[in-house]
């Protein structure tokens, strides 16, 4: 099962290199965490400030989508190598769900 060994867990890999990797990783985590809190903040403002709903709904949905992407890529490590298959299936599922919802909105509730 040689394929199960990930290179980062290999002690032979340069220590400095791993340190730098970990630091970059941490910085990305903190940055995305700050971004997510900021976006949550905007979402609250949009609701509290009582914006017009035709403006508020798309903004909220957009922010929600961005949150999902950040969550997946930075906190659930989809940005790392070896997640191609999972990403493919995730996007296929999302596409099919989207088409289904689109159908129900356009040609079912006439």
């Amino acid at each position: 099962m040689a394929t199960h060994e990930s290179t980062s867990a290999n002690p032979k890999v340069n220590y400095e290199y791993r340190r730098r990797k970990a630091r970059d990783e941490m910085r990305m985590q903190v940055t995305s965490f700050a971004t997510m809190i900021f976006m949550t903040f905007i979402a609250f403002i949009v609701v509290i400030a009582d914006f017009d709903k035709y403006y508020a709904f798309p903004v909220l949905l957009l922010l929600a989508g961005a949150q999902v992407v950040l969550q997946l890529y930075y906190f659930m490590h989809m940005s790392h190598k070896g997640h191609g298959t999972a990403a493919l299936f995730l996007y296929s599922g999302a596409l099919i769900a989207f088409i289904t919802v689109l159908t129900f909105l356009t040609i079912v509730w006439w």
Partner: protein
């Protein structure tokens, strides 16, 4: 079926099969139960054809006819075709990718038992107050109004067996992604493995809509909801969409593995590498994707409007392109090959024109404007029987002959196999070719009887005679299976002599651990590569070592049995509530007890550690079926 098994008592063998988590034994379970339901569905088809043989016939009553046609469709799709495909997937895919088992052996067993109990539940409807009678599509406006418990059996039975199918599909996805032998890259996988992979992905995405639809139906019928009740603000069209969002990918779930079986058979018996392998893979994936964009072509006459109809018509026609790519690749694989017309190859050769005929009528039906003429006529019946029998069933029969030696270690008789083939092929075309014309003459589908003197008599009689040919063909196949197993002449690794893929590199049937040492895969058709370099077996990719194996478990059986019991409670609580708590007082306790059995066995599975066991290196060295190398 191994020589060891025959020395044990019947009960020991039975217990072994009830608890097995071995993919090869689960394959046999799928084959037996799928085969049984195939015979049941076939019997229902024979009753339909006998009723329609002559005009104004009274062989069955109108109500019984509706039940027969509903159960024929439902049984054949869910309980015969899919399990039989799962039988071959289980038997062959782990071997083709060089794995010792599927990724989740326990779930594999659970998937089988859920399917089995769901199927048994559905068929018990015959003995418990009437079968479902709203067609296999069970359109909501009709099925909500259906009296009795028929539709409840349909909803609950399919819900249980659908969960099993979903589990099996996920299992194959994980297996194919994670368990490939060293060197077995995606683009070296045999086509049957590829098509299993894509079909499993379709199962993953297509079964949830069915589950949702069935749940809505369940709540409408059993708990007084009104999702589909127009008079209460529901919308009956929702069921049609949900059903076909599942239903159209479902036909690709059936046909793609059949394509895979044929691809392997054609390349084996043409002694050639599959022509355009990469294009075949791409076409398979593309068919899978497009399969989700076309469901509304089943609903052209529902009134979706010209825009929606046009979009779905064009998308449907687009599927003909990748399918055409596959057809030409099969033809070009045979072109210039050294062809041996064995029984599986006969099926493969006959499949091509039969399936093309079904494809051509498919494009005709895809034209939305013309579909208004064909809709709900025997033309549609002829079309989908041409693709399902001409594609899937021929594939299953070919696979039965092709993989029988690998599954059971014996060769089915070739002469009888060819007799089966010719009887079946003639019967199939005889039954369904004339139905195109019946449809164009205006005979609607799902009718109980027709009047004499309308020009429908002759073709209906021909159709019924054809059905008898198919029935005789199946009987010959059964006879073939029985005498083959009684004679029990054992065969070696590669009984066809031209095996190209990994499954033919190990004994038939394989030892329970499959590969003593995982094989090193050096290209497409790995065994063929080794043969061409003068070797008879695969080069091992690892030193001989201990093999980790899963323990047998009775829990999947109990888990499924719990749902089976709970389904009776869920169904009869309707009567309990309608009688004001007077009768059927046992229904609610039965529902709760059933669920407790299932949840309890899930808890046992979760809380009790089961680490499996190891086959030690020393035992493997002693095993003589294939010498281990250090």
């Amino acid at each position: 079926m191994s020589t060891v098994a025959q020395k044990r008592g019947f009960l020991a063998v039975l217990w072994d099969y009830l608890t097995t988590v071995d993919h090869k034994k689960i394959a046999i379970l799928y084959l037996i139960s799928g085969g049984f339901f195939f015979l049941v569905g076939g019997l229902e088809a024979m009753f339909i054809r006998i009723q329609l043989a002559v005009p104004d016939n009274d062989f069955v009553s109108a109500g019984l006819y509706n039940e027969l046609l509903t159960m024929h469709g439902t049984t054949m799709i869910f309980l015969a075709a899919m399990p039989l495909l799962f039988a071959f997937m289980n038997a062959v895919v782990p071997l083709q990718i060089g794995a010792r088992d599927v990724a989740f052996p326990f779930l594999n067993s659970l998937g089988f038992w859920l399917f089995f109990f769901g199927g048994v539940f559905l068929n018990l409807s015959w003995f418990m107050g009437g079968a479902p009678d709203a067609g296999w599509t069970s359109y909501a406006s009709l099925s909500i109004a259906s009296p009795g418990h028929g539709i409840d059996f349909y909803v609950l039975g399919l819900q249980i067996s659908g969960a099993g199918t979903l589990i099996a599909g996920i299992n194959f996805l994980v297996t194919i992604i994670n368990m490939r032998a060293p060197g077995m890259t995606y683009m070296r996988m045999p086509l049957f493995t590829w098509s299993t992979f894509v079909a499993s992905a379709l199962i993953l995405f297509a079964f949830p809509p069915l589950t949702v639809g069935l749940f809505l139906m369940l709540f409408d019928r059993m708990f007084g909801a009104n999702f589909f009740n127009v008079s209460m603000g529901g919308n009956t069209i929702i069921w049609e969409h949900l059903f076909w969002i599942f239903g159209h990918p479902e036909v690709y779930i059936l046909i793609l593995p059949a394509f895979g079986i044929f691809s392997d058979i054609i390349s084996t018996f043409s002694k050639k590498r599959l022509f355009g392998y990469a294009a075949m893979v791409f076409a398979t994936v593309l068919i899978g994707f497009l399969g989700f964009m076309v469901w509304a072509h089943h609903m052209f006459t529902t009134g979706l409007g010209p825009t929606a109809n046009a979009i779905f018509a064009v998308a449907t026609m687009a599927i003909a392109v990748p399918t055409g790519v596959k057809i030409f690749n099969w033809l070009l694989t045979m072109w210039g090959g050294s062809i041996r017309f064995t029984t599986p190859m006969l099926y493969a050769v006959a499949f091509i024109p039969s399936f093309v005929a079904g494809g051509v009528t498919g494009v005709m039906l895809a034209s939305a404007a013309a579909d208004y003429q064909y809709h709900d006529s025997y033309f549609v019946v002829a079309h989908f029987h041409y693709v399902i029998i001409g594609g899937v069933v021929l594939g299953l029969l070919a696979g039965t002959h092709f993989y029988w030696p690998k599954m059971f270690g014996t060769m089915l008789n070739e002469t009888l196999g060819k007799v089966t083939f010719w009887l079946f092929l003639i019967g199939f075309h005889g039954t369904f070719f004339v139905q195109h014309f019946l449809g164009l003459m205006g005979m609607p589908r799902r009718i109980w009887k027709y009047l004499p003197g309308q020009g429908l008599d002759l073709f209906n009689m021909i159709s019924t005679i054809g059905a008898f040919f198919m029935a005789i063909a199946v009987l010959v196949l059964l006879y073939n299976i029985v005498i083959t197993q009684v004679k029990n002449v054992r065969v070696g690794n590669d009984p066809w002599g031209d095996g190209r893929t990994l499954e033919w590199a190990i004994p038939s049937p394989p030892p329970y651990y499959n590969f003593k040492q995982l094989p090193l895969v050096r290209g497409l058709d790995p065994l063929w590569i080794e043969k061409m370099e003068g070797r008879t077996e695969m080069t091992p990719a690892e030193p001989l070592g201990d093999i980790h194996m899963p323990n047998n478990s009775f829990i999947p059986f109990v888990m499924s049995l719990g749902l089976f019991i709970a389904a009776f409670g869920a169904m009869y609580q309707i009567d309990w509530r309608e009688s004001g708590g007077e009768e059927f007082v046992w229904s609610l306790p039965v529902l709760i007890i059933g669920m407790l059995i299932t949840l309890g066995s899930m808890a046992v599975r979760s809380l009790k550690d089961d680490h499996g066991y190891h086959i030690h290196k020393e035992e493997l060295m002693d095993d003589t079926d294939k010498g281990g190398k250090e």
